[in-house]
Assembly symmetry: C4
Homo-oligomer: 242 residues x 4
């Protein structure tokens, strides 16, 4: 056990201790190892959070993602509105670690009903935000159609999945100096695109959420596949929308 | 054991339980883990099916491919013609899962004598279908010659392998809204190209089959190598056919 | 144990059975697993052979490289000149497998004093052969200078390693319909470039050898790094020779 | 145990024997395995060194990085100035191995207060040095701004991390025939850019250091991410500085 994460007995360590591989405190490190190998969370970038009942499990900030352990995980009581951001009531907190700077953005996704939210610094996502800006201007969203993989993205909450002939649209917001200041931009994008399950952040990466952990993860994979394909299509002079 | 896959005793669970790593119910999850790492079955895309004697083993739909387990596998009685598609007689079915939407396409390959059929969403396959359409029109097939790796693809059933100086031709069919509706296009391509062991699907991916599992898998690898090489050759202005 | 590889007691199975991970029959499968993950031996392509004393260990043909086992390995008595190619005297032969089609080429390298020879279908090697042909003609060799990694390639037998300011030259031979027919081209290239430890084969891949297994493997890695870099340099309009 | 590394009892083997995975003699091989998989230390290229108290742990030269073992590690007494380079006092030395040729460069970083120094041959780093030279001349440094990942790089010793709107600058020095001759160039770059935690070496790779091992490793990852992104941006005609 890493001394940095030793916690007092009153720190609710039991909340992150489980033999069940599907327990959020086990799933988050497992997902982060995969994301590290995909190049999504290089250099401690990115983050992941899972909501289970009235508990929100959050990866710490600044930890090497492939080395994360269950006892590095924060737990927050849900719903959070009663806890102002300034003194958020963590019911389980690893000593000497800070919660992910993405926490307010994760909470925004959970308020929309998400069960899991993933933030990556995928280079394909970053390149797509730059190409959209140059080709269609700063207010344009990413659009692509007639690609089978878009069937892996929901049409909206309870509306089933997109079809092959539909156009996938992912809003893009501008980056800010501090990650937490992205929250209002994220909320605005969610209001403008109420059916979206993802928001791109220019020159930064993407936030993807899903009704549960498996959906958030597979939707994040599908989007990353689509962004990589879109960059390669652009290099080859192939248009994104048929 | 995942509760979602608990099945009643009468559900022939023994058909997917074996200590033999070469058993189809063990091979399919093992193959899917490899395919996941190659980026072929991102976001639950793609699928795999193996025929062994009069049993067809089929991967489920919507399952994370790298997490698939033997008890997620469906078993269908073969030959299937006596079972109309509307009430296909699965002799082993995991509860709460659906069989792969690719099932009718897998059956089409098995009717040609295949022992295994693999469907991937490989980006190289998708890019090749787009390049062929732009450069040679919607009716053209993919063609390449004078590349050593084409010797990994059969010349046709019982005809040995292609030679270095031969031209590999892979037909391309248009995608449809629903995966099962690809069946007639696949059959038409098989009729037009009776020697082919693969059919590309525009903006979607590829179906590859083989006389047995090892052949289907290695042929799928060889084709993917060839498509990746072809895309890089195109970027560098190098023609595909000498 | 795979029944396909069961061999009679008189088949010298002890030659491929060792607890020592450095034994050639253990090293070849271990190397092939790595090469598979690098994309060098896709679809059963490529091969590897090690000489230890008067025994030559050879990977089989047509086996999935990442699944190779010690009992798949052939052993040939060395020196071989006394055994004409038509009835080469294998002192250990797995039943139902054939030795690598690269065997005559491996033997050519061993006649030059090599301790290990590796053959890959690396796409970077293939692309480099095509770029050299187009840019400098069919008789040109690959040349690059002023890249730190060329210090990983020997200047010639017993001559130390290349320096940063030296020019690395790798001859390129034309491919043939049958792998064994490459032998005379390989020998001619070795005569013309007596200091080379590698020969590129146009539209096919590369043969790399070394004084021992570690050297062959690390030289193969260094060359592949250099070819990948060279292709990317070409895409960016950066010349290979300063 | 590899006979090549057997050492006499007086050779302080206890300095590299520990059950603690965080011990430098265990960490260096573990890091090198990761770096090998990222393609940073291909063909025995690159190196890693960690300072712990008054001991400096150094990877050997010419060893396959993914196979490195704790007993391959050299230990040097710190501070070293009292030991002239000609007879550096290694307090633990594996027999038959030589210390990394990068040693003088690692020491230069440790003199600046680093706790760990990493040297890679990353292709992205090499390509960036070539693009900067062509686009901005031989004296220019690499510059990029408005990319989230630059927040993973310190602004300077004790000055916190760079912000999103800051410009990351990494000096580039020319390569030399012998690795140890890079030392004066490295020192000059450190003097000119006293806040830098990394120096690129043209046509060679990069040296990255950090206050401790985790920081050196994550900063190296962040820089490599940035270089890869920069090369892709260049291919797509996207400027590095906004």
């Amino acid at each position: 056990m890493c001394p940095a994460d030793q916690t007092v007995a009153t720190n609710n360590d039991h909340l992150v201790q489980s033999e069940d591989p599907e327990h959020p405190a086990n799933l988050i490190p497992e997902l982060c190892r995969k994301f590290y190998n995909w190049g999504w969370v290089t250099g401690t970038g990115g983050g992941t959070s899972i909501r289970q009942g009235d508990h929100i499990f959050i990866a710490p900030s600044g930890v090497q993602k492939e080395l994360m352990q269950p006892d590095n995980i924060f737990v927050l009581q849900w719903p959070t509105p009663k806890y102002p951001a300034s003194d958020r009531n963590y019911i389980r907190k690893p000593l000497k670690l800070n919660p992910s700077a993405c926490t307010p953005l994760f909470l925004t996704a959970f308020e929309q009903g998400a069960g899991c939210c993933i933030h990556t610094h995928s280079q394909w996502a970053v390149l797509v935000t730059l190409l959209v800006e140059r080709e269609k201007g700063p207010d344009a969203c990413f659009e692509i159609s007639n690609i089978e993989q878009i069937k892996g993205i929901p049409r909206g909450k309870g509306k089933g999945m997109l079809g092959f002939f539909d156009t996938l649209k992912i809003p893009i917001i501008e980056n800010t100096a501090f990650e937490e200041d992205l929250t209002s931009g994220l909320e605005a994008a969610m209001n403008k695109y109420p059916d979206t399950y993802a928001v791109l952040v220019r020159r930064h990466g993407i936030y993807v959420w899903g009704d549960n952990t498996a959906k958030a993860k597979t939707q994040c994979e599908s989007l990353d596949y689509i962004f990589q394909l879109a960059v390669e299509m652009h290099k080859l002079g192939l248009p994104w929308v048929k």
